[in-house]
């Protein structure tokens, strides 16, 4: 047996212990990596990294001392030959015990002081001496992020734009499960807990594009729940914010964009809004998002409507599917055709009627998909003329477009019930709803005084759309009557 002991070359534990150290040196932390916590671009992340390094070096010293002692003792006091001599049978040493109780305690106090300082700096509200605060509400959804700018009345998704050097105050919420909001290079994470308002703040002090990712396990597509943060110069940020209120140019008739718009309005606009540029669209989109959520939670099995990212000015984005892929025509076509080829588990594929096919791919021809993609990529702040809400433009008002803009979040053009009734065949039945009201009169009354008559089993939630103007409403009525 003793031969075996001799074979256990005593340096072996030393070598094995050195492995992690060696790896540490080899894999020296690389701040260039997209989510490195060391490539900091904001004061919070910088403080956190500095605190980490402070603790790390203390730990390194302790590590070397302790492991050194273990290795030294293992070698120095190993059994030589077969000497069975008994070592001194000590029971311990009280002075030593007290020493090595107090020294770690002192070290921990040294760690605790900067820790507490930073906790109170970072977690007790946004500082008011660092510049004008930008307020953002970030909302986690399975599996994408929604960003609302209450000051600017902007809603967007998956790509967050902030101005450089200004504190951004986040109100974090979630609509479904717990998510976590994390931009490693700018600030550590804070969880998004449903109906538990959480707050954090951050400053991005270097212009650039940064990666963010959901860090709390949130279900099947957790790995794919990412986002981007763009830190702009103040001017660029203003330009972006202003652009978000400029409507996209209407597609030229007959162009692929126009055909794509048609497709979008038919298949996508039930859940996706793509034109939140006009005054009032901010509040409306929030209420739609709530309605979509209620549509899903109240009947998960058969929901025809789910929460979905706002696609306003989608063409200005750089990424697809919550920061997963570079956004271009071919990735977008892949995405629309079969979302699970990029991201498994999307609500879109699960619930949207257009994916109700044998293999789960979209029930669209390649041409249609391509047109929709082209249309979406064309969504950018327009030249300013002729765009905007159709109601404000001159000339012929397109009822279909008005419907897609204003109504399709709650009403489908088929028989499917979303929030309100599906409107296929409305022209046939509108005349018999209220005695004395003809088809046109009934539809008009429903639009301008919706509470006057509510169809059974539907909630009386529709608002007065009289502000659209007579001309628009006329066009809408004409369009609605064509629905079969």
């Amino acid at each position: 047996m003793h031969r075996v002991f001799k074979l256990s070359f005593p340096l072996r534990p030393a070598i094995v212990l050195l492995v992690p150290v060696a790896i540490a040196l080899l894999a020296a932390c690389t701040p260039d990596n997209n989510q490195s916590t060391f490539g900091t671009a904001g004061p919070i992340a910088r403080d956190q990294a500095a605190l980490f390094k402070f603790i790390f070096w203390i730990a390194a010293v302790v590590f070397v001392l302790v492991e050194g002692a273990v290795i030294y003792a293992s070698i120095r006091f190993r059994q030589r030959s077969s000497s069975d001599k008994l070592p001194h049978q000590t029971h311990g040493n009280n002075k030593l015990e007290i020493t090595w109780t107090i020294i770690p305690a002192l070290i921990l106090i040294a760690v605790a002081v900067p820790t507490l300082t930073q906790i109170w700096e970072q977690q007790s509200g946004v500082p008011d001496d660092r510049g004008e605060v930008l307020n953002v509400e970030a909302i986690g959804h399975q599996w994408w992020f929604e960003f609302r700018y209450p000051d600017h009345e902007i809603i967007t998704s998956n790509e967050l734009h902030i101005p450089v050097g200004r504190p951004v105050s986040f109100k974090l919420d979630s609509q479904d499960v717990i998510h976590s909001f994390w931009v490693p290079k700018i600030a550590g994470k804070v969880d998004m807990v449903p109906l538990n308002d959480n707050y954090m703040w951050m400053i991005g002090d270097e212009i650039g594009e940064y990666y963010g990712q959901c860090a709390e396990f949130c279900g099947i597509a957790h790995a794919h729940m990412r986002f981007r943060v763009f830190v702009h110069s103040e001017e660029d940020f203003q330009a972006w914010a202003d652009g978000m209120h400029v409507a996209a140019d209407a597609p030229a008739p007959g162009s692929p964009e126009a055909s794509g718009q048609q497709g979008f309005n038919t298949y996508c606009s039930t859940c996706h809004t793509n034109n939140s540029t006009t005054p009032g669209s901010y509040a409306r989109e929030i209420s739609f998002q709530d309605a979509r959520w209620n549509g899903w939670i109240s009947d998960i099995e058969n929901a025809a409507i789910v929460s979905a990212p706002n696609l306003t000015h989608f063409g200005t984005r750089t990424t697809l599917a919550a920061g997963l892929k570079e956004l271009n025509h071919s990735t977008l076509v892949d995405w629309i055709t079969d979302p699970s080829s990029i991201k498994i588990g999307t609500r879109m594929q699960e619930h949207a009627a257009v994916y109700n096919t044998e293999d789960g791919t979209a029930d669209l021809s390649p041409g249609q998909v391509s047109d929709i993609a082209t249309y979406l990529l064309s969504l950018k702040p327009g030249s300013g003329s002729g765009g905007g809400a159709p109601a404000t433009g001159g000339g012929v008002v397109d009822g279909a477009e008005v419907f897609a803009t204003n109504c399709s979040n709650c009403h489908s053009t088929t028989d499917i019930k979303i929030v309100g009734p599906g409107l296929a065949g409305i022209g046939d039945r509108a005349g018999s709803r209220v005695p004395g009201l003809g088809v046109d009169e009934y539809i008009k009354q429903s639009l301008t005084d919706p509470a006057a008559y509510v169809v059974d089993d539907y909630p009386a939630v529709m608002t007065d759309w009289g502000h659209l103007g007579t001309e628009t409403i006329e066009a809408l009525v004409t369009y609605l009557k064509t629905l079969k």
């Binding site: 977690q123 509200g125 109100k171 804070v190």
Partner: protein, 145 residues
Amino acid sequence: MANLWHRLTHYEGNGWWNLPRSASAEANPPHEGPIGGAWLSNIFRTLTHGGVSHAGPGFYWLVGLMLAIITLLEVWLFAVEGLGAWYVPLLLGLSALKFVGVVAFFMHLRFDNRFFTYVFVASMLIGIGIFSALLLLMEYAHQVP
């Protein structure tokens, strides 16, 4: 301090950790119940049966009566309006009294080791500690804007 240390760490005749090995070593516990110790027990023992070492039915009836009175008192407090902020602490105090009453005078396991009593008391302390902390956290621990 040194004395305490010795009592804790070393075996000395009646040290805290000198736990008898079996039932026979502690056949007659010095006092009833784990809580309150000899002090509380002796008071009631004197009150009820003049220092007889064994509690009798009379003693139990008396404790039962007191518990019933406390319950009535609680219900009366409930009926009385206008106690305001005193209401909850008063009730908690009274029910703590009942709690101790039952534990101290009804519950005693003669042939069990004192260590188990410590386990129970420790669990009470840990339980009260962590669950109060939990209440505080759920009530007040929130991020501010």
